[in-house]
Each structure stands twice: as structure tokens, then as C-alpha cells.
């Protein structure tokens, strides 16, 4: 298939000096917003004890462990700001992301041992489930850096039990293993109770000499046999037992290496554990990239930094999506699928690091006379119309047939509404796209470039497609909500306005409430809110988007569950005609 993929059609245009000058303010605004997000990320990184204090104890921090473990330049963090239960600690207390270890992609997650010795916190299990889902979707190993002191006991009611509670990850580890996806664990420190199961549930355990894992740790063992109250005599007994168990905690290496053999290896040095993980990653099943690449990897034809000039921070501002995409894919080349149909949507094949990926994105702006064909009003990109929905249905289905991973780009205000749109079957076609995605068993990722709105956020491969969406990225221009705040205020208060007017009462109190609601929508759609609540898996600097795309493509093709030979693909033939 070299004639199809080695050299595809060029797209995108070089930016002129005047354009760079005219968009300088937009660039500054985006970069300033990215600096604010980065400041929040630094806050999470610096949570808990300072690095020096951890190092003085002879331990590395989780960040130092990740830095040592992951191949340079490959770390793509996720969920850095995820904190859905608004913990005072500012974190769910696990750090995770995609990265290469010994040249192979893995999902990596570690407890932050700077914060309460890596305790379970509210929201953490949901974070972990996103991570196990990611390993499952990409079919790549999950590598744990376990250092977990167990539940934060004063808040256990928020996370211990429940359907997706702190025990659920252990079932997910079992699920991954049953699917043939290994879970490797480097184990440090004291890991009682929940920490014990975090340690025992992975596939192969690499232990540091000072670690321990146990059903119950020193604290719980010294306080067992409740009597219904406490008194001073009991307190003295607790002190004595606590001292004993601190000196000799249950589940040390002496037990779980020498006696049970749960620990496959024990290492004297912290770095030795990480070296052990690296060594095993060399043995993980993975295709050489040449097996699936359709062309040699190429850099982008135009700088990705140009996107700071091309993506307007101002949400009403129209821009050219193709210009942005041309700066994210190899050599600014593509094969566009049905360019004359469904004008509001781009669908096409591109290359990322030499791998074939399918790209879908909202085009912006006026769509020309007589479009959409079923309506007497003009069509604008960002909205989805009949042709665009049909085109995406076809494209996604063919990507499934050809086993091509999909990258979605959203900047959508929703699916067209009104009686003409209903007669044009848009409700049914939107759900058809959901059906098409659900039966297209390939990894997908999403970038919410600006707006993710209404049902269009669902049907365009959003995180609600959680069997297929590996992860979702936002930018500092992202905003996600069911509808614009002002629209919501009208929908909520229109009838009230009519009633108040009919009753002769002043309208100002209702107007004030409308403004309050619109402002609330604004605040609860910002990038920081989206990251904290998990509406996106990470807010990524625009200059880093290409790196995440590269990680996604490399991981998706590392060990795919299903293969279509390149010369048996049908989509490239349909495009060429």
C-alpha cells in the first residue's frame, strides 16, 4: 500500500508574518491560561512533604520513581488535576499517565508517598478505574508504583465501599490479567489493608527490602478486639502494642519473600525495584512499530506552535480546523474521506509517527448556500447536520473494518434543532453514530479543542463512549456543558418571565437569577473545572498535543487485539475511488 500512504495529499498553508502579528494577542492569552493551569499542576506535584524530607528518609518520591522508570521524553501525564471529591490535599493521591518503559508503552500509576504515605483518598478509586480502563482499551501493561498506607480513616465513608469504590480496582486488576494484560508492581513502604491488596492484586511483585504488605497493618493489629469504649489502661496497652508492631510490622520481606514467596524479587535499593520493572518490560509482548507503520515517521510540516495563532480563545471566533490538524500529523499530509459531503465535519486518514490514524473534527464557519439541504436557514460549522452525521457513521464503521484508531476533535455547539432537523432524522442519526462507535472496536481518543456541547459531545467519541474512548484531552480554550449558560437561563426562566409579567410583578429578580445561572454555567465549564471533575482526563498545552497523539498511536498499535492487513484495507480505496 506504499502508493497510498508513503506520500499523501498535502494540506494546510504556511502562516504569513501578518497573520502571526494579528494573532499575537490570542497567543499571549492562550499561553497565559496555560501558565495558570501549569501553576495548578505544580501545586499537585508539591503536595505533602517536600522532596528533601522524603529523600532524607532514604526514599524516593513518586515523581523521582517515575522519572527514573520512564524513557526520557515519553511521559504523558493524565488526571493531574483530577480531584472530584474536592479533597483538601488537592489530589486523589495517585499520579498516572502514559509512558514508555524500556521502549514499550505502558500505563503507569503510583501513589504519592509525599501525601499521607500514599493513602487512599476520596475520588482515588475513580481515578484508578480510569487508568485500568485505559490499559484495557489500549491493551498495554499497567505498571504500579505501590506505596499505600491504606485508607484515610477519617473519610472512609466517601470511598471505602460502593459499586466503584476502593475495592473495585482489585477486580479490575483481575479482569486485566484474565484478558492477558499484565499488571506489574514495584512495592515500597508500608502497605496495610487496602495497601496490601494494592500490592497483592498485580501479576508480578517487585519488592523493596523495607516494604511490607498485609491484610492488616501495625495500627489495626494493635487496636483489634473493641470493648465499646476507651480508658487510660487501654491506652497504655495500645502504646505498647503500637511500638511493637512498628518495630516488627506484619508482612515484611521476611514473610512474603522468604515464607509465602508472594514477592518475586526483593531489591536492596529503591532504584533496583525500578530496574526490575524495566527488565520485565523488555519481555512484554509488543510488535515492533515497523509491523504497522505505513510510512517512515515524519515531523509535522508546519510548527505545532502555530496552533496558538490558529485556535481562537474567543469562543465565537471562526477558524480553519484543517489548518490545525495539518500541524498535528506527519508531514501535513492526509487522505480526506468524502470532502464534498457533510461539510461541517472533517473525516480523513492521516499519519502520526508513521502510523495510520483516522481523524474526525468539526469544521467552523459558514457552510455555503443551500446547506444544510433540508433547511431554509444557513448552516454553520460546529453544528452537526444530516450529511455530517451520515458521513461520520460511514467513516467510523469503515475504520472499524480496517482496524484504524480514531482521533476525534470536538468544537461543537450541538446537533441542529427544530422541526426541519427532526424531519431530516437528526435524532436517529445521532444515535446511529453512537451505535456505529459502539460496534467499532478500536481505540479512540478525543481532543476538546474548544466547545463540547449537547448531544454532539456524546456522539463525537466523547468520554461517555467509555468502552472506546481511551482518554480525553482539553485545551485552555475548552468549555464543556449541556448548552451555553445563557441558553440554559432562557430555557429555565422563560415561563417564569411570562408568569411574572402577567401578574404585574417586577422582572428584575428573575433577570438576576438568569444572570446568576449563566455565570454559574461559565464557571462550571472552564478547563480547570473540567479537569478537576474528570470531564477531561488532562488539560494539555497546545504545544504538547502532538506528543499525546504520538503516545496514543504508538500505544494503540503496540499490541492490537485485532489486525487488518494494510493491503486488505478498504477505506483508502474508497477515498481514492
Amino acid at each position: 500500500m506504499r502508493p497510498y500512504f508513503e506520500k499523501m495529499a498535502d494540506f494546510g498553508r504556511e502562516l504569513k508574518k501578518s497573520q502571526l502579528k494579528q494573532t499575537a494577542k490570542n497567543r499571549e492569552t492562550l499561553e497565559a491560561a496555560e501558565a495558570e493551569i501549569q501553576a495548578q499542576v505544580e501545586g499537585v506535584k508539591n503536595a505533602g512533604f517536600p522532596t528533601d524530607k522524603i529523600n532524607a528518609r532514604g526514599q524516593m518520591t513518586v515523581w523521582q520513581r517515575i522519572d527514573y522508570l520512564v524513557d526520557p521524553g515519553t511521559w504523558c501525564p493524565l488526571h493531574m488535576l483530577y480531584n472530584p471529591m474536592e479533597n483538601d490535599e488537592g489530589t486523589t493521591n495517585v499520579i498516572d499517565g502514559l509512558g514508555k518503559i524500556s521502549g514499550k508503552w505502558a500505563v503507569i500509576i503510583g501513589f504519592d508517598n509525599k501525601v499521607m504515605a500514599g493513602a487512599w483518598l476520596p475520588g482515588q478509586s475513580e481515578n484508578i478505574l480510569r487508568v485500568t480502563d485505559l490499559a484495557k482499551r489500549l491493551n498495554i501493561p499497567l505498571v504500579w508504583l505501590v506505596n499505600c498506607s491504606g485508607a484515610k480513616l477519617t473519610e472512609q465513608e466517601k470511598f471505602y465501599a460502593n459499586r466503584r469504590g476502593a475495592g473495585t480496582p482489585f477486580f479490575r486488576h483481575a479482569e486485566l490479567e484474565q484478558m492477558g494484560i499484565p499488571v506489574l508492581a514495584g512495592i515500597y513502604g508500608t502497605n496495610p489493608a487496602g495497601g496490601g491488596y494494592q500490592s497483592i492484586s498485580p501479576t508480578i511483585l517487585f519488592a523493596h527490602k523495607d516494604c511490607n504488605i498485609a491484610v492488616g497493618g501495625a495500627g489495626i493489629v494493635s487496636g483489634m478486639a473493641p470493648k465499646g469504649h476507651f480508658d487510660l489502661e487501654m491506652a497504655a496497652g495500645i502504646i505498647e502494642k503500637a511500638k511493637h508492631f512498628k518495630a516488627q510490622p506484619p508482612g515484611t520481606v521476611a514473610t512474603h519473600y522468604d515464607e509465602t514467596g508472594f514477592f518475586r524479587y526483593v531489591f536492596e535499593e529503591e532504584q533496583g525495584v525500578l530496574d526490575g520493572l524495566k527488565d520485565y518490560m523488555k519481555a512484554i509482548p509488543a510488535y515492533h512499530p515497523k509491523f504497522f507503520r505505513v510510512a517512515p515517521p515524519q515531523s509535522t510540516r508546519f510548527p505545532s506552535e502555530d496552533i496558538y495563532s490558529l485556535l481562537p480563545m474567543e469562543p465565537k471566533r471562526v477558524y480553519e480546523f484543517d489548518q490545525i490538524l495539518a500541524r498535528l500529523v506527519d508531514s501535513g499530509e492526509h487522505m480526506e474521506f468524502r470532502p464534498d459531503s457533510g461539510l461541517e465535519v472533517y473525516t480523513g486518514l492521516c499519519k502520526v509517527d508513521g502510523f495510520l490514524v483516522a481523524c474526525i473534527g468539526n469544521r467552523q464557519g459558514y457552510l455555503g448556500k443551500d446547506y444544510p439541504e433540508y433547511a431554509d436557514y444557513p448552516g454553520f460549522g460546529g453544528k452537526l447536520y444530516r450529511q455530517g452525521l451520515i458521513k461520520m457513521n460511514e467513516f467510523v464503521t469503515l475504520c472499524g473494518r480496517d482496524r484504524i484508531p480514531i482521533v476525534w476533535f470536538q468544537d461543537t455547539t450541538g446537533i441542529d434543532v427544530g422541526d426541519a432537523a427532526e424531519k431530516a432524522e437528526l435524532l436517529g442519526l445521532g444515535q446511529s453514530l453512537i451505535y456505529s462507535i459502539q460496534q467499532t472496536d478500536v481505540p479512540m481518543m478525543l481532543v476538546v479543542l474548544r466547545k463540547g456541547t449537547a448531544a454532539a459531545h456524546y456522539v463525537m467519541g466523547g468520554p461517555t463512549a467509555n468502552r472506546h474512548n481511551a482518554f480525553t484531552l482539553g485545551t485552555v480554550a475548552s468549555e464543556i456543558y449541556v448548552m451555553h449558560g445563557e441558553t440554559a437561563a432562557v430555557a429555565t426562566y422563560a415561563r417564569r418571565l411570562v408568569k411574572e409579567e402577567a401578574a404585574g410583578r417586577p422582572l428584575q429578580p428573575v433577570v438576576d437569577k438568569m444572570n446568576e445561572l449563566a455565570q454559574d454555567y461559565h464557571e462550571k465549564s472552564r478547563p480547570l473545572f473540567c479537569a478537576r471533575t474528570g470531564l477531561v482526563d488532562e488539560i494539555v498545552a497546545i504545544k504538547d498535543l502532538r506528543r499525546y497523539l504520538t503516545a496514543f498511536a504508538g500505544a494503540a498499535y503496540q499490541n492490537p487485539k485485532s489486525i487488518c492487513p494494510q493491503h486488505q484495507m478498504i477505506l483508502p480505496r474508497i477515498i481514492r475511488g
Partner: protein, 72 residues
Amino acid sequence: MSEEILAPLAGKIIQMDLEVGKAVEEDEEILVIEAMKMETPVFAPCSGTIKEIKVKKGDDVEEDDLLAIIED
């Protein structure tokens, strides 16, 4: 040789940075039309000098209305 700049869509001109005699570069933004709550920039189709301006800020325009003429 001169080239006409036509309105790509119907709407209201909400920004305009044009004057006769001004040199513009191809793809330079010269005005913005608002329609359907969206702001659509209009770019110079070629490099040259503004020879004539047919509209002003605040004007409503129809699709394909003549906005200005650029002379090479």
C-alpha cells in the same frame, strides 16, 4: 491588476481595519463579519494595496457583496 473582496456570508461588519492605500498581505485579516452569533474573519485574497472600500463598520452585507478592491 485588481482583485475584488466579496462577502463570504451575509451578516454585519463588526470590525474593519482598512483604508485606501493601505498595503495588505495575502491571508491578512481585514474585517470581521458577525452572523449566527459567530464572528467570521475575512482575509485578503492576495497581497497588494487597498484601492477601494465599499463598506464600513456596522454595515449589513449580503453574501457576495463587494467589500473592497485590492490592487497588486
